[in-house]
Amino acid sequence: MPAITMKVNGQAVCGDVEGRTLLVEFLRDKLGLTGTHVGCDTSQCGACVVHVDGKAVKSCTALAISCADSEVTTIEGLARNGKLHPMQEAFREHHGLQCGFCTPGMIMAAVDIVKRKGKKLDEDTIRHELEGNICRCTGYQNIVAAVKAGAASM
């Protein structure tokens, strides 16, 4: 099994992987970072979204070995010094979740939207940009409100 190195949430990590090991398996099973979720096996739900070299990607649809030597940020990497990231805080404040299963992916996707589109987001843009993130609980209203407020406070 080849050993790979990676920078995850600012820390250098290494581990043995098989060719077929998915990035999400490496994060969850090897590194114990279980905040990144797996909600489907068709690459459609977005529960597994993390940032690789600054871009939001579905970690269930990337080989860990292909991400060797990249910088990965997961939901665990957003908070600073025990203080929630503004987008996390906005999800809490606006009740942007019910069961919470989709939330890590939603928040990682939302932070990526702000990076690409800026802090001032209208509802249409948010809904369109969240096409790759499925929530089976909320009906999206509060997620959209949370993303809007979180973006403004970032």
Partner: protein, 264 residues
């Protein structure tokens, strides 16, 4: 998902070599078709040759054509300011592929090589009269796409770039499947430099195809109203749980008109 040997060559010649050596090898670009296929057990190659190490990305606008390197992601194509000016329909098409996360990984080379009957890019290639550059040759889109999930590519041949001629106007309209976001019907229209029009349809049939009647009408006058009364026969079109062949046939004219109206 079965295990496999993994290599990530830095040179295209090494990628071809690795493929020749492999028992049952597969190239991987963005992996956004390949990895789901592996996960479902629909393919179990012995070797994966990751083309990501080639770093062949970029968009070059020339005097007569635009060359997009095979490894360029959908997000990069959609965001290119120069391309939005040069071939607006193509940039718009890329911005509507899947969702933002898919666009960060999926590549133009992977999309044309895969030739999914519901993929977006093949319609742009066919309507714009693109040329597919490979490690072995240059092929016109009309010759490259040969049917459902099939292309003229040999097993050891790699798509290196796609070249699109500059046109007067281009536009794309798709009716996405709301779950998969792939095209139920997508129509790309282009008005060439000489005024002649080309129309290519994806999602509706077993593979991307052109519509001669629409091309003739739009070559006379490039306007949505030129398509009034032109219907595509439903025979041979896809019928599935999402839409009947008749519904898809109807959508072709609707989407073609929208594409013409959106064309810039």
């Amino acid at each position: 998902m079965e295990n496999f040997n993994y290599v990530r060559p830095a040179k295209v010649a090494d990628a071809v070599k690795a493929m020749k050596k492999a028992k049952d090898g597969k190239f991987m670009a963005g992996g956004h078709t390949l990895i789901p296929t592996l996960k479902q057990g629909l393919a179990s190659p012995t070797d994966i040759i990751d083309l990501g190490g080639l770093k062949n990305t970029g968009i070059k606008i020339g005097a007569k054509s635009v060359v997009i390197q095979a490894g360029t992601t959908h997000a990069e194509v959609a965001a290119s300011k120069e391309l939005k000016k040069a071939i607006p329909g193509l940039a718009a098409l890329a911005g509507g592929i899947g969702d933002p996360h898919v666009r960060h990984k999926g590549t133009i080379g992977g999309s044309v090589s895969n030739n999914d009957p519901a993929a977006d890019y093949p319609s742009a290639c066919l309507a714009l009269g693109a040329t597919i550059h490979t490690t072995d040759r240059k092929l016109a889109a009309d010759k490259f796409f040969t049917g459902m999930f099939s292309t003229a590519l040999k097993d050891t041949e790699i798509v290196t770039a796609v070249e699109f001629p500059l046109v007067k106007k281009s536009g794309y309209a798709k009716f996405p499947n709301p779950a998969s976001l792939y095209a139920m019907v997508g129509v790309f229209v282009a008005q060439g430099a000489d005024g002649s029009a080309r129309v290519a349809v994806t999602g509706a049939g077993p593979g991307v195809f052109r519509v001669a009647d629409m091309e003739a009408a739009l070559s006379r006058k490039f306007a949505g109203s030129s398509l009034d009364g032109i219907a595509v026969k439903s025979k041979g079109l896809n019928s599935d749980m999402h839409a009947s062949a008749e519904y898809r046939a109807h959508l072709i004219t609707v989407m073609a008109k929208r594409a013409v109206e959106a064309a810039k």
